[in-house]
Each structure stands twice: as C-alpha cells, then as structure tokens.
C-alpha cells in the first residue's frame, strides 16, 4: 500500500502569524493541525469542507507553494523540502494546481500562447517558437478549445469563464503532470458550464492516468466526480472523516458530516423539503485563533460527551473497512 502512495502528508501542521489590531501583538493561528494523509497513484481524493477549514492551504502545501510549520510532505516517498534542485524541479513538473478563479489566475496582459508556452520554454520542453506553437495548439485541442487557432492569440478577457477555466486546465497539463490539485475548479462557473469542465477533468484522468486531489465545498460535486474514489471531510484544519465516497455519503459517521448532509439544500423539492436538519448546539464556527480544547467540533456537537470531547483530541478509528472517523463515539468499535 505504502509504495503506491504518490503524495503523503506526515503529521503536517501549518500556522500563520497574524497581527491583532494595529498595536496588538503577533499571534499564531494554526490552520492545519497534525494532518496525516496518503494519496494513492491513480485515485481521486475529494477534500470537502466549509470556507476557512484549511482545504486550500492543504492544496498549496501539497504543490509546494507554502512550507509546513512542522511535519513532512512526501512525493513518491521523498520529503519535498529536503530535495536537491533537480529533484525539486522534477516534483514541480509532476504536481500541478488548478486555481479556483479563472478571472484572476491568468495574466490579463498575456495572450493564451504566452501563458501556455512559458512553462514549456522554462522546462526546456520546446526550443523554438514553431515547436511551442505546435504544442500549445495540441494542448488547446485537448481541452476542447476548438478550433485551437481561434484561441491561441487571444487574451483572457476575450474568453468566457468556462473557456478561461479550460485554459487554466491546459496550463496545468503543459508539463504532463502525474498529480493535479483542482482547488474549487468549477465553483465559480455557471451551472450549465460546470458539468462540462468536470467531464473534461474526468476524461483527462482516464487518458493521462493523473491522480486528483479535488478540493470543493460542494458535496454533491465531490460525490459526482469522486464516486469511485474517496472523500475526506475537513473541519477547522483536521480531517474528521475519510473513506470510500459511497460509504461516506450513504453511511456518514462523524456528527459534522451528518450535519452537513442533513443540511445541504438540494435541487429536488421533495428531497430537500423533507430534510430534518440536525440541531447543533451552536451556529457559530469557533475562531482559528481560539480553538476549543479537545475535539474542535465539540462546542457544536449534539452528541458530545462532557469531560471527554472537550478535553481529549480523538484518534482516527476504523469502524468499517477503509472508513476512518475521528470521533469518540467510535472508540473501540
């Protein structure tokens, strides 16, 4: 199992320093707390959670855009922050990210050709302009921007949101990656466009055998894209539940996952109006600057056990095969 892992997070924590007020002192804010995770070659792992839970930070840590405060991130068994220059360059080629907002992730003063050819030149994949143009046309064709000659010399503002996101995807493919982090890659797009981008990602996964970390706040999208993979549910910087997608959706274990599934509004009047939302003890999410002791969900959890949940941090338990949950209700089961 271990040797099939492409990315592993080994007890990773990440804190940011924030100032409180103009004259206030500096405070440390822990965004990711002691996260361990292993992503297997060829799988789709969906990381779901609400805003501020640390899912984007996790994505950035995995692609090496930010450094963990403690713990190690391993790419094919090797710690990325103790790699030599060539190894690091190889890792950077193999691991790519698609950002959320196609309006701000593409440089507005560069043509599509420049955006897509820059990494090709940078990594010495092409030497001449003709070679670069040929490769860029091929990439545009691959993401269904056809005919590619209509797009290659356009600027990002001349494209629609869906077309821009296709360019962003094409850019992530320039270096034949083996691992792609898709961070809310479809959230900003219109409903009718969203699905075609999802289908594109799915096709690329089949054709290029890419491993995906699909980060989203949308459980329905995670279910649809990651049905054959796994879902990890994140809350305040910790993974509270992880397991095969059908199991997590059909048999959620953690009270937070249950609360989400019972609350989520759905595009089906009969289904959505018959939901019985879980009554939480508190509506407010605790601040990252002032995390509650014990299980971070305990101040909101209707099933909390006084004296346990507010004191100790639960381990990961495995009440059914490959389905893990970090909750005392499952201790010893």
């Amino acid at each position: 199992m271990e040797d099939r892992a492409i990315i592993q997070l080994d007890h990773v924590s990440k804190s940011f320093t924030v100032r409180s007020g103009i004259f206030g002192g500096r405070k440390s804010m822990q965004v990711i707390g002691n996260l361990s995770l292993s992503i297997q070659k060829g799988e789709v792992l969906c990381l779901v959670g609400e805003s501020g839970c640390g899912k984007t930070t996790t994505g950035k840590l995995i692609v090496g855009l930010i450094k963990p405060t403690s713990g190690r991130i391993l790419f094919e068994g090797q710690d990325i922050w103790s790699m030599n220059k060539d190894e690091f360059k190889n890792y950077r080629k193999a691991v790519q990210i698609i950002h959320q907002d196609p309006y701000s992730s593409l440089n507005p003063v560069h043509r599509i050709y420049n955006i897509l050819s820059a990494p090709l030149f940078r990594h010495g994949i092409v030497k001449t302009r003709d070679e670069a143009e040929e490769k860029v046309l091929e990439l545009l064709d691959r993401v269904d921007l056809t005919p590619p000659r209509d797009f290659i010399y356009k600027y990002p503002h001349q494209l629609s949101g869906g077309q821009r996101q296709r360019v962003a995807i094409a850019r992530s493919l320039t270096l034949n990656p083996r691992f792609i982090v898709a961070d809310e890659a479809v959230s900003m797009l219109d409903v009718s466009i969203r699905l075609s981008i999802i289908e594109l990602l799915r096709r690329l996964k089949e054709e290029m055998n890419v491993t995906f970390l699909f980060i989203t706040h949308d459980l329905a999208m995670a279910k649809y894209f990651g049905w054959e993979g796994r879902i990890a549910v994140m809350y305040l910087g910790r993974i509270v539940e992880i397991g095969p997608t059908p199991r997590v959706i059909e048999n959620p274990l953690h009270p937070y996952t249950k609360a989400l599934l019972m609350a989520i509004p759905e595009a089906d009047p009969q289904v959505t109006r018959s939901k019985k939302p879980m009554q939480l003890r508190s509506l407010d999410i605790p601040s990252l600057l002032n995390l509650p002791p014990g299980c971070t969900f305990n101040p909101r959890c209707p099933f909390w056990i006084e004296g346990t949940c507010d004191r100790e941090v639960p381990d990961m338990y495995e009440p059914e095969k490959d389905h893990y949950v970090s909750c005392f209700l499952f201790r010893g089961k």
Partner: protein, 330 residues
C-alpha cells in the same frame, strides 16, 4: 386564485456601454401573488438581478427601463413604479418593497455601527423616535436569532457572513414591507449557515405572510423555498410554473438541461448531462430563440422567430416551439 400584488408588463431594461446596448431584460411579463414565494433562476447574465433591481428602481446609472410597466397594487390603489420620481421612490422603498442584496458585507457602511445604520434607515422614512426604532430593531434582531445587544453595538466587520445576512434580513423587515426581494440570499454562505437562513426565511413567511422574490443561480434554493419558479435565459422568461412543474415536468430544453446538470447528494447516484456551448452576447442577439445554438431540439423555425410563452398546463408556461416533444424529462 390569490390576489396579485405586483404585475410586470412587457418590461424591457437596457444598459448602455461602449460596445453598444446590452439588452438585459427583454419583454418580461410576470405576476407576483400575495403571500407567495417566487424564484427567479438563471445563470449569470440571464437578467434576473436586473429584473429584481428594476422592480425597486435601483438600476446602476448606465441602466434604464426602456419600455413596459411595473404595477404595484397596495392600499387599494395601483401604482406604476416605472413612472415614480425620486420622492415617490423614497416613500416606496423599504415600506412597500425591500431588497436584500447579494453581497452582505458591501451592503453596509463599514464605518458605522449596526445601530446607526438601522436608525438612519428609519430616519430617512420619517421615523425619528429613537426608543421606538430601538425596540423594533431589538425585537427583529432577536427574531433572526441574533444577540441584539451585542450586534447593535458592532461594526459590520465584527460579524460573520451568516450574521451579517441575518442583520440585513432583520433590517429589511424594519418598515414592514409587503414584498421582499432577496438576491442570492444563501450564495457564499457555508452549508450549515445556508440551512439556517433558509429556515429563517420560511419562518418569516409563515409569520408575516409577505410575498417574496428570490433571485438565484442555485436551483436548490428554489427547490427549498419557491411556490412558483421563473426560469430566465438571455433576458427573457423561458419557462414559468409551479415548483413541481419546473423540477419534475420541465418543458423547456434549457430548464431540462439545468436540472440534468446538477448533482444531488442524498438522492441516488445518477448520470448527469451538460449543456453544450455558452450563453449569448446580449449586445448582438441573433433573431429566433436565444437558446437555439445550444439546443438539441433545434429546428429551422427556431432560428427565425423567437417563441412566446404559451400555456402548456394550469399556470405552466413555456417559450419553446417544440415543447410537445419535451415532456416528463423526455
């Protein structure tokens, strides 16, 4: 049949910009009945927000009503909102129709405490009795499940997104409007907060019997709260019907496409279908049905004339030449 409170007749709204005239709302006819929840759904650029802001005449300066009437029926009289001057509008907004805008943070003045913003609103409508406003504000804030003493002395940035949305909803009820327009009331909120806002809106409707218009790109909000749904595409209503008709018996290819493109969580796993292409440019609109370039049911006639809304069932209207071939989700 319930009494109508608002009647939009053949409304056209345009924006002028450097490239030309953006035809944002094109010939909309729509009624709002007393006590109902009407959802306007559509994608960005479909004209749903323009229609909402036209109703309370808060279009940005480049936008104007080109033609049509917006008739409000209240206090035993009929008023054409599109003919109101600024003074009429000041009397009318908040008291008869209030709107909660999409971005909860931008709707506040960042340097004023919540209390000052509430009092300013009341004062602008001639209510200057501080004690009276304060009592009403406190009871409304408590009604939306906030701690009034804390919230009233806070600045907007000190509140979370969900709290700000609840404050805005409370404020919109300050002058007891008959119609409440909510633009994307749950977008950008967390799932658990969304649920809370939905439950709150449900309670408000049950308690106060207002008429509400929801503007959203999110089909699930319509599925939760709407009695009737109007589906907009390229500035026009392409389908209008009860929430059951729209979700379970759609007759327009676009509505059908939208419903088939949205995954659900708790219902079983099903294959989804995407709509090819993208929405049209609202400056250079082609003749004929605006959805035709993306439509799999397209025939030659669809590219010549634009179909009008026709009644296909009780209170169920569709603007499509080929609606007979689209039934029961095909």
């Amino acid at each position: 049949m319930a009494k109508e409170i608002l009647n939009i007749e053949n409304l056209f709204v345009e924006y002028s910009n450097i490239r030309g005239k953006v035809k944002a709302v094109r010939g909309v006819n729509l009624k709002l009945y007393k006590g109902e929840n009407l959802a306007l759904i559509g994608e960005s650029g479909s004209g749903k927000t323009t229609l909402g802001t036209a109703i309370i005449r808060l279009l940005p300066s480049s936008g104007y009503i080109k033609d049509g009437r917006i008739v409000y029926k209240g206090n035993g009289n009929e008023y054409d909102i599109s003919k109101f001057n600024e003074k009429d509008l000041r009397q009318f907004r908040w008291k008869e129709i209030a709107m909660v805008f999409q971005s909860a943070l931008n709707s506040f003045n960042p340097v004023l405490k919540i209390w000052d913003q509430i009092y300013d609103t009341a004062k602008a409508h001639g209510i200057t009795n501080r004690g009276f406003v304060r009592d009403r504000a406190i009871s409304l804030l408590r009604y939306v499940q906030l701690d009034p003493e804390r919230v009233i002395t806070s600045y907007p940035h000190e509140l979370s997104g969900g709290m700000r949305q609840r404050v805005l909803i409370a404020m919109s009820l300050l002058l007891e409007p008959k119609i409440l327009i909510l633009d994307e009331p749950t977008t950008a909120l967390d799932i658990l907060t969304q649920r809370n806002i939905i439950e709150l809106l449900r309670t408000i409707k049950a308690d106060m019997g207002l008429s509400m218009i929801f503007i959203s790109h999110d089909l699930s909000l319509a599925a939760e709260l709407a009695d009737r749904v109007a589906v907009m595409y390229a500035g026009a209503i392409v389908e209008l019907g009860s929430v059951e008709d729209i979700f379970y018996r759609p007759r327009h290819p676009y509505t059908l496409g939208l419903i088939k493109a949205v995954p659900t969580v708790t219902a079983g796993f099903r294959e989804l279908y995407s709509i090819p292409g993208s929405p049209p440019d609202l400056i250079n609109l082609s003749p004929g049905c605006k959805f035709a370039p993306r439509c799999e049911y397209k025939e030659t006639e669809c590219e010549k004339d634009e179909p009008k809304l026709v009644e296909v069932g009780p209170e169920h209207f569709v603007a499509c030449f080929r609606h007979k071939e689209i039934s029961n989700g095909r």
